[in-house]
Symmetry: C2
Subunit: 341 residues, 2 copies
DNA sequence: TGTTAGCACTCATTACTTTCGAGTGCTAAC
DNA sequence: GTTAGCACTCGAAAGTAATGAGTGCTAACA
């Protein structure tokens, strides 16, 4: 059977209507509210076909139809129209430049959640492949040394090192020079064992400190691995009855809190993001099993210097996909304009 | 009317029973399961008295009684028995030493939540009254200067400063010495305008940088003001039907996400913590209006050097107060032993 | 051949009634 | 002061009936 234009129109009408009301939609509704001028009986015949083809289902006999995951998919892929939203409306919700990236991302998550009425997540950019920009040791007191590590993209990490031998300013200076001349500009992978032992040899009696510093560098990178994820509007899920019953809600909220699941989502999105800017996961397509009854729309942002992160909106399957996509695009534009100055 | 011993025993039995079952408890139950050897009729008479005195209520005629906030309060204040819990059991759940305080606190929150089956929160210590330990400027490149600020308690902040004039290593060294000799050891309040202008004068053409650094110091402190709060086990509230219905749950979860309310809780706890180690807020006693139907048990931990923070457990009013208090005490002991080495 | 009117049928939802039993308050007797 | 007994209350659960939205199917129509 072929999905001809009339069937498309009917399917589209069903999805639209269901997105709005959340109620199964019947043949009579479609017949009245479309410009097809067909009687409900005809619509019924077509709907029977659409059901056979797998685009819609009846929750029970004698109920209207609701879209299947496949139905949503067709809708999202081919029928969604770009809403021409007034730029005015979005102007009021501009992100403000923040000097702290984490604040900006928190703000982004919140903005998206309040704008869309769904739950949102924003992952901090991962900086995997970046290069060391500066290492700076400072003497805090006789026993403590502060190591500051700056990575390309201006990510800064610091660690306090406890040293056994007393150490004077001059030694610190020497170590600084030693470390910076040899390590600056290198990526994490380029710091190998050979380089490390060479450095240790040059440091002489202070080789312990070199070890510690390199450990700290390794750890600084590693820390970034279990990446930060900001969420907002988690409680928006209670606005949608299909997600609000306590077992479903509990699972979802658990997933949001644990962040393990979200992490998976981020990884998957980043992996697939080469092709398309925005990805839509509907129901079972989701990388995360606890979100079987949700749809997830994700986007990848790029702050330059290899700093890429993921933004996602999680809501019911009957979410307003147009609005969500629009919002994501807008936020990405804003992030761009803030960082690519 | 006097709350004599028999009434106490009966009240205690009612509370205990209700904590376990969550069902209103009737006279017959009490008569059977206490060693008072009284008939249900007698118990009924006493219960009528207890109701008149405001310790218990009937949710409706012909139902058993449940404790009022006042009833819980009496129970918590005078009838709760210190459970002798086996130390063994808790050993398995020891906190591990982490070099990053935030990780440790996250872990603490999680531990508490899983152990108690309630929601938990842990606030990062506020460092209000602390002293500057070290300022360290480093040249990143021609335009950028890295300022690292270490505050007592080893809290480290860093900022990147953009400088207009090119600056060489020597100048950086001089500025470092200037700033450290004058600022180290001072508390935030002691850095006044007079001192600042004196420093600027000594810095000569680089007075801009001094300004920037001092701004950064101020901001570092300010950032700490909107303090970090870690939560865990939020979805545990779904385990208690009285909190699980969607409107109540939504409010609670919103409060947990926003953290504004939790912040209030922290402030209040810290303010009142002088007197007692552990505080219990029952129902309407709560500082946070969204938690009217909850009980909150909080404790203040002290890592030394003025670093104080709050730990809290939030659950239904019929929470297992003994268990919660035990758990909090244990966690505080563990935090102590980790940090007071 | 595609479209439509009409009709019997299904089934979730809602409201109403009944039954059941846990628990009470009160009275009278011990 | 304590207890047995009894009438009474009222929520929860179960059963029943009415409602109506929506379907599939058939037969007639253009």
């Amino acid at each position: 059977m072929e999905l001809n234009e009339r069937k498309m129109k009917i399917l589209q009408a069903i999805v639209r209507n269901y997105l709005e009301t959340g109620e199964p939609v019947g043949s009579r509704t479609i017949s009245k509210y479309t410009d097809l001028n067909l009687s409900s009986a005809t619509i019924r015949n077509e709907m029977a076909d659409l059901e056979e083809m797998g685009y819609i289902v009846q929750p029970h006999t004698s109920a209207g139809r609701i879209p299947t995951d496949l139905g949503y998919r067709i809708y999202v892929d081919t029928m969604m129209q770009e809403k021409e939203r007034e730029v005015e409306e979005l102007k009021g919700t501009l992100l403000e430049k923040e000097e702290r990236l984490d604040q900006l991302l928190k703000q982004t998550a919140k903005l998206l959640a309040t704008n869309t009425n769904y739950a949102s997540m924003v992952s901090a950019p991962s900086i995997h492949q970046n290069k060391l920009k500066l290492i700076q040791l400072s003497r805090v007191n006789d026993e403590q040394l502060l190591a500051v590590i700056v990575i390309e993209g201006n990510v800064i990490k610091n660690t306090l090192l406890n040293v056994s031998e007393k150490i004077n300013e001059e030694t610190v200076l020497k170590l600084n020079i030693l470390l910076n001349t040899h390590l600056t500009g290198l990526s994490i992978e380029e710091i190998n064992l050979k380089l490390i032992s060479s450095l240790k040899a040059q440091a002489g009696i202070h080789s312990d400190i070199v070890s510690d510093v390199i450990d700290a560098v390794a750890k600084a990178i590693h820390e970034e691995d279990d990446l930060e994820i900001y969420t907002s509007g988690t409680n928006n899920i209670f606005k949608y009855p299909e997600l609000a019953d306590s077992s479903a809600a509990s699972e979802l909220i658990g997933a949001f809190e644990e962040k393990q699941a979200l992490n998976e989502l981020v990884v998957r999105t980043l992996a697939e993001s080469e092709e398309t800017g925005i990805q839509v996961y509907i129901g079972n397509e989701s990388p995360v099993s606890t979100m079987k009854d949700c749809s997830i729309v994700t986007a990848t942002y790029d702050l330059g210097e290899g700093m890429k992160g993921t933004i996602g909106i999680i809501g019911p399957k009957r979410m307003d996909y147009e609005k969500v996509v629009d919002n994501l695009k807008d936020v990405m534009r804003q992030l761009d304009s803030i960082y690519k100055k």
